[in-house]
Amino acid sequence: MDLFLHYLGMPYLLDGVGYTLLITVLGLLGGLVMGVVLAAMQLSRFRSMAIVARAYAIVFRGTPLILQMVFCYNALPLIGIKLSAISAASLALALNEAPFIAEILRANVLGVERGQVSAGQALGMTPAAIMRRIIAPQAIRSMVPALGNEAVSALKNSSLASVVAVQELTLRSTQLASATFDFFSIFFASGLMYLVLTGAIAVIQIVVEMLLDLDRPPPREQLRRFLRALVPGRPEAVPALAGAGEGDVTPPDVADESVAERVADPLPPVVPKPASVGRDPAARAARLAGNNIAVEVKGLRKSYGAQTVLDGIDLTVRAGEVVALLGPSGSGKSTLLRCINRLEGWEDGTIRVGGQSLGTDENGRPLSPRLTAQMRASVGVGMVFQQFNLFGHLTARENIAGPLRWVQGLSRFDADRRCRDLLERIGLAHRADALPRHLSGGQQQRVAIARAVAPAPTVLLLDEPTSALDPELVGEVLEVIRRLAVEEGLAMIISTHQLRFAGDVADRIVFLSGGVIVEEGPAAQILSAPSHPLTVRFLSSMTAE
């Protein structure tokens, strides 16, 4: 025991800890830098880069670290690169860590919902902005545990640097054991030192996770959670001390959810606008006919492999016109909407939005994703998705105000003002600071609509905005669409199964089946007197439900 304590406090071994830490930190930093590059290469749209990165991973993940250490130390001098022992060991550790860290980065980047990426694209965010504002914040949160693991494993792997004469803890322990024959005291002491180091990494990981926790509780609760996290195996029970006399403590998450369900947050009362009173379809149609063309689709064909999804679509939508797309599942409604926004490419045909062809320059050459995004924002095409696709790490307020700052370049003040105005109009001002996961589906979709409308687009595309909602939540969303979009006079293309809503708000109904437009005409006419047998069958099956 005396010997053990003697070795535990021995400066020689403690200095060894310094070298162990140095190599670990250098190796992890180098691995992180190279890992970012490798992950970017693998995720790149250029295939050759992905192949190079993959080949690197195969070599450096597939060979033992000890060989890489010896290689960096003893083989590199043969080609004229003579590194110091510490540099060689750090380099080898970095080379070895890089592919592992790259995989962690890649998996967590891919783990962010694709829908959020689509939403970012639809808002006109460039790929870099999407990476920085949407993907990175969420990916970094979810990769902390894996990176913590990697740090611990790098620390332990650093002991292999002893083979290339780095004076780290393991090497010094064995040398000391050789000189003194106090084998066990020395190795227990150095084992404890390693445990303290890995324990420190675990603590850092817990702290980082807590700091990044989106539902960060107040500091006192935070300290309690921290202490609880240090003691493994204990369930997250209500603490006995705090429990006395306040047995009805509800965790914040659940509280939020139940509030969301319990409290009906009605939309603010309608302030009738003169335009929306006494709507006369015929007069409106005549007025619309004189408007500019907002969206023009000509001969659009698209297929996924052998399956043709869109087979020659022609569609013209004028400014201020509301078009409802009806049709059975798989008829191509969503694909058509995504093509209009250039979220998808197509084989044949043209689409012009606001007179411009999204994603190609005036000579028809394809633009980079970045330029396409900028064009999308300048033309002004908003999109609302079936699955809401709110940015999961941002509050309702930031979901709306963020893109206004990042894409439209509004000041924080202006963006917040616009956001507040919209949140009031959708009746969610009191939920401005709630995260999407604490909102009901209907509330989320209302925020999503506000987000799409916020930059004042000229065209709004809605892809089955109520299909993912419980029936009792459909009404509030349709009402928001009516107020924010229809009454604002946006050109709108909405794919929906809500026939009554379509009849109510749409100027025109377009019926799609098998990738072609089977029938189209004024809403009232199609709904009351469809002419094509497919339309008849579809409408009768819908009303039968």
Partner: protein, 310 residues
């Protein structure tokens, strides 16, 4: 003339450490290093240069004032280990001898601790300039480095107390026994060569457990994993001294090798310089005195000769 070289100047600061230390602070500026690293740069061996050494320094002026790297496997008590009292120093006969050679030729030494198996690869990679680490000069190893011999080889046979397997040397008594050895040791092929003899006698061949330092080999016997560890007799004696109740030396054997200083193959002036300096140290009795200091038997001393690849 023994006073001519200060043989006690062998408090060799682990200058590797100070190198690393500057790298450390340079790269990081972190004051992780607490104690032990505060020592200064390597002190030159303060040799009062005798005439012969002065002549050698005049003949090989390139070496004067240089700091060379000596690759060692510091797991051999008596030859080279760290100093338990001050672990930033290396101590042992080889260390003192190297310092004395350096003192004579006017260079100082710093140390690079590596596994036994990578002593010569470290030299070949240019990460070290010289290897003085109780390494036996064999024809095989001479393919990697030129050797200048300085000691005869006596091996001891380390066994558990009472020699339960009745091992008598590198002979048929090893059949069916487990021998602990270090990777790259010359004893390994000698033990492996017993296989036909054992087979002929209808016994199993010896099994060899390979480790990478003495301490692990000794622990293998203490833990009952190995029956014997055959290595330099002084190392074996040291182990018996450390564990008198558990270990003993069964016997000593002579091997047809010598211990040698390894130098790079293509640097003949350096080799000649080291060999001449070693000759001087033997002539003046310095080596004998060092052997006495480290309890090596006097008859182990060997006149320098070269072991080169064929």
């Amino acid at each position: 003339m023994a006073h001519a070289l200060d043989i006690h100047s062998g408090r060799n600061r682990l200058s590797v450490v100070s190198h690393l230390r500057s790298a450390f602070f340079g790269a990081f500026g972190l004051a992780v290093a607490t104690g032990g690293l505060t020592a200064g740069l390597p002190q030159p061996a303060q040799a009062a240069t005798p005439e012969a050494c002065a002549a050698l320094q005049a003949k090989y002026p390139d070496l004067k004032g240089k700091t060379l790297v000596n690759a060692i496997n510091p797991h051999t008590p008596g030859y080279e280990t760290i100093d338990p009292k001050d672990p930033t120093n290396y101590i042992g006969f080889d260390i003192d001898l190297g310092e004395a050679i350096g003192g004579c030729l006017g260079f100082t030494l710093t140390y690079k601790a590596v596994t036994f198996a990578s002593l010569l690869t470290t030299l070949q990679a240019g990460q070290a300039d010289i290897v003085i680490s109780d390494i036996y000069a064999t024809k095989d190893r001479a393919k990697a480095a030129d050797f200048i011999t300085y000691l005869k080889v006596y091996d001891g046979v380390l066994v558990a107390k009472g020699n339960p397997k009745k091992i008598t040397g590198i002979d048929a008594s090893l059949c069916g026994a487990v021998a602990a050895e270090n990777t790259g040791y010359v004893e390994v092929p000698l033990i492996q060569a017993l296989e036909p003899e054992c087979k002929a006698a209808g016994k199993p061949a010896p099994e060899i457990l390979l480790f990478d330092n003495n301490a692990n080999c000794i622990q293998a016997i203490l833990a009952g994993r190995a029956d014997t560890y055959i290595n330099d007799v002084n190392t074996v004696d040291g182990a018996v001294k450390a564990y008198p109740d558990k270990l003993e030396k069964a016997t000593a054997v002579t091997l047809p090798y010598s211990v040698g200083i390894a130098v790079p193959r293509n640097n003949i002036p350096f080799r000649d310089a080291v060999m001449s300096a070693l000759g001087e140290l033997q002539k003046t009795g310095v080596q004998a005195e060092l052997m006495k200091k480290w309890n090596l038997p006097a008859d182990q001393l060997e006149t320098p000769k070269l072991v080169l690849a064929d």
